[in-house]
């Protein structure tokens, strides 16, 4: 498969009164043409920041890309001048946000909000923009698109609003669609519809999707490959089946086992991951997860784990993969470690 976007060692820091906070600390992943990758992790792990950094949406006075490359169409997005970046946004790379209610302008008609992107990037007359807007509304499943174009945000339901967001993002036929928790604010039934919509759209347009989510159900349904993020780093990545059936990082395992299951005995309590993520003002010297990890070794607290290649695409950063460490399964029986 053709490589579309290569993120290599991305580092993002925010300026705060207490000093810089290192939200993203060296994230690398590759997005291929027509595939869907998921970035998962708990709140504050840097997944949204990673997404916004690809779009370069974080205002300069708030946060900065301090390292790494983001190669797209032979250009490094991290170095691209703002003016060229504006040409990319919405036309080559689009983004969908979590809550369509607050992410769409309440005082501008839906039609205008869809059309302004078309007019901006394709430089076509309004009539042509209108035709395209009608077409895209139809594609995302909104009935009577012609009359709906004149309406405003408050006249749509939650699921419809998210469909409109998707329409706005897709209308200029971008190569990459970044969806930042697109289903989190929706009812479960609507969630399923929206996920199916993503799949339909991908089949029809061949767009590559980066799905940012903490919902593993969504990941299982839509993603080809998964990147698990923790404290600003990708700790494990691999094909979706590998991650779900053969997780190697204790954090991934923890995420999976904290997910409620329909077939589980309801008397058995959920098993959350104890503790809280580390302070990113002063990230720990070793593995960031060590403090919460029940398999943690001494080496975990002192040194960053290297990436270990397992199989062709499964990569994990964990000291347990070191030949000298105990295996995860054996470690499970004696969780005290060495």
């Amino acid at each position: 498969m053709e490589k579309l976007l290569e993120v290599d060692g991305l580092q993002v820091a925010f300026k705060t009164h207490g000093g810089p906070i290192q939200a993203v600390r060296g994230v690398s992943f590759t997005l291929h043409k027509g595939e869907t990758i998921a970035i998962v992790g708990e709140s504050g792990c840097g997944k949204s920041v990673t997404a916004k950094s690809i779009m370069r949406l974080i205002p300069e006075h708030i946060g900065k890309i301090v390292g790494g490359k983001m190669l797209f169409q032979g250009k490094d997005l991290a170095q691209l001048p703002e003016k060229e970046m504006r040409e990319m946004r919405g036309s080559q790379i689009s983004m969908i946000f979590q809550d369509a209610m607050t992410s769409l302008n309440p005082t501008i008609s839906i039609g205008e909000q869809i059309m302004e992107g078309i007019i901006r990037h394709q430089k076509v007359p309004r009539s042509e923009a209108k035709r395209q807007a009608t077409e895209i509304l139809q594609l995302v499943g909104i009935a009577n698109p012609e009359s709906r174009l004149k309406q405003y945000l408050h006249q749509f339901s939650g699921g419809m609003r998210q469909r409109i967001m998707i329409a706005i993002a897709l209308v200029c036929k971008p190569a990459i669609l970044i969806a930042d928790e697109p289903t989190t604010a929706l009812d479960v039934t609507i969630q399923a519809q929206i996920i199916e919509l993503f799949q339909t759209i991908q089949r029809k347009t061949g767009v590559s999707i980066i799905m940012i989510t903490h919902d593993l159900g969504v990941v299982a349904k839509i993603a080809d490959r998964v990147n698990v993020m923790y404290a600003g780093k990708v700790v494990e990545s691999g094909p979706v089946r590998e991650i779900f059936y053969n997780p190697q990082h204790p954090y991934t395992k923890g995420l999976l086992s904290s997910m409620p299951r329909l077939d589980a005995d309801r008397n058995i309590p959920l098993s959350p991951i104890p503790g809280t993520p580390p302070d990113l003002f002063a990230p720990p010297a070793g593995c960031a997860f060590a403090a919460r990890c029940e398999y943690a070794l001494e080496v975990c607290r002192a040194h960053q784990p290297e990436e270990t290649q397992l199989g062709s695409k499964h990569v994990v950063s964990c000291w347990l993969q070191d030949p000298r460490a105990k295996k995860l399964t054996t470690a499970q029986q004696s969780p005290t470690g060495t």
Binding site: M55, L57, R86, E87, M88, R89, G90, S91, S94, M95, F97, D99, T102, S103, L104, N105, P106, T107, I108, S109, E116, G117, R120, H121, Y152, H154, Q155, F156, S157, M165, I168, A169
Partner: protein, 312 residues
């Protein structure tokens, strides 16, 4: 929409009637009468004749009825202090002048106020922001008559840029309009800045940026529209502010507008002039409030005249 306008119209009439009634009885409750100046009364026979001519000899409630009767015919009656003038004529003479001055002041206030507020918000916590806000604080705290005197002293007397007073050319409009507009500018600028700062952090601004729109489009199309909504709400009050302020300013600059006649009317206890100008200004203000309401719903489509257009 039509039923909204009708309902508003009825409530406007009721409001106006209340104002007329209150002013009428309060005015008559004040001691003295138009023909009595500093204790020097007219001969009884003359006073009786005058009173009879202006219906002042009838019981108050009958006078009130007669006044309303004439008002419905848009007849505001003759001026008592100057019987050759009718109140209608006074308004026809004075209002165009006041209107010009008020309009210039309001437009100037809106344009400058919003511009200052937007610039301050876009350059948040930088020099221009501080400068704009210092101007705003001065504008809010300095009364217009003090400012008017300062403007006359410096811009007119010392630097001779504009005429000191009276009315005629466009140069005559500048200083009084500036004096009138200054505090509204300050209020609008502060409000615009606060709202703009809030709107600029809204998520739909991020969406607009994600579409690749230029900063100018984002500010003027997506942010400003939402940021000036509260300013529009305030507009009604500001117009009232400028109207009442103009009484004083017109006096200072010797402008032959409504204010001059209103103040003179009160000094002379000229009942029909007091009533006429009050009725006229009240009507104007009430109508302005109505215009502001309509404007509001044009800018923000979520505000409908009736709440039934939501769908799920």
């Amino acid at each position: 929409m039509l039923s909204f306008i009708l309902r508003r119209f009825v409530s406007m009439i009721v409001t106006l009637w209340l104002i007329i009634t209150l002013t009428f009885f309060l005015m008559h409750a004040a001691p003295g009468n138009p023909f009595e100046k500093e204790g020097k009364g007219l001969p009884d026979a003359v006073a009786a004749n005058l009173n009879a001519f202006y219906n002042l000899d009838k019981p108050l409630i009958v006078q009130y009825g007669l006044y309303l009767q004439n008002l419905v015919k848009f007849d505001l009656g003759p001026s008592i202090a100057n019987s050759s003038d009718s109140v209608n004529k006074i308004i026809a003479r004075g209002f165009p002048v006041s209107f010009q001055l008020g309009l210039v002041a309001i437009l100037f206030a809106i344009v400058t106020g919003i511009a200052l507020g937007v610039v301050a918000a876009l350059r948040h916590n930088r020099l221009i922001d501080y400068v704009a806000m210092v101007i705003a604080v001065i504008g809010i705290s300095v009364p217009s008559f003090v400012l008017a005197s300062l403007l006359i002293k410096y811009l007119a007397v010392e630097w001779k840029l504009f005429p000191t007073a009276t009315w005629g050319t466009w140069q005559h409009v500048v200083l009084p309009a500036l004096a009138l507009a200054f505090s509204p500018i300050a209020i609008i600028a502060r409000l615009t800045r606060t709202n703009m700062l809030e709107v600029l952090t809204a998520e739909y601004i991020e969406t607009a940026r994600a579409k690749g729109l230029s900063p100018a489009t984002i500010v003027f199309k997506h942010a400003l529209r939402n940021a000036i909504l509260p300013v529009v709400t305030l507009l009604g009050a500001l117009i009232a502010n400028i109207l009442t302020g103009s009484f004083v300013i017109e006096k200072i600059f010797a402008i032959p507008g409504m204010g001059k006649y209103f103040v003179a009317g009160i000094n002379n206890r000229d009942y029909s002039v007091i009533m006429g100008t009050t009725v006229f200004y009240s009507t104007l203000l009430i109508f302005m409030m109505f215009v502001v309401d309509v404007l509001y719903s044009i800018i923000d489509p979520r505000i409908k005249f009736h709440g039934k257009e939501r769908e799920g």
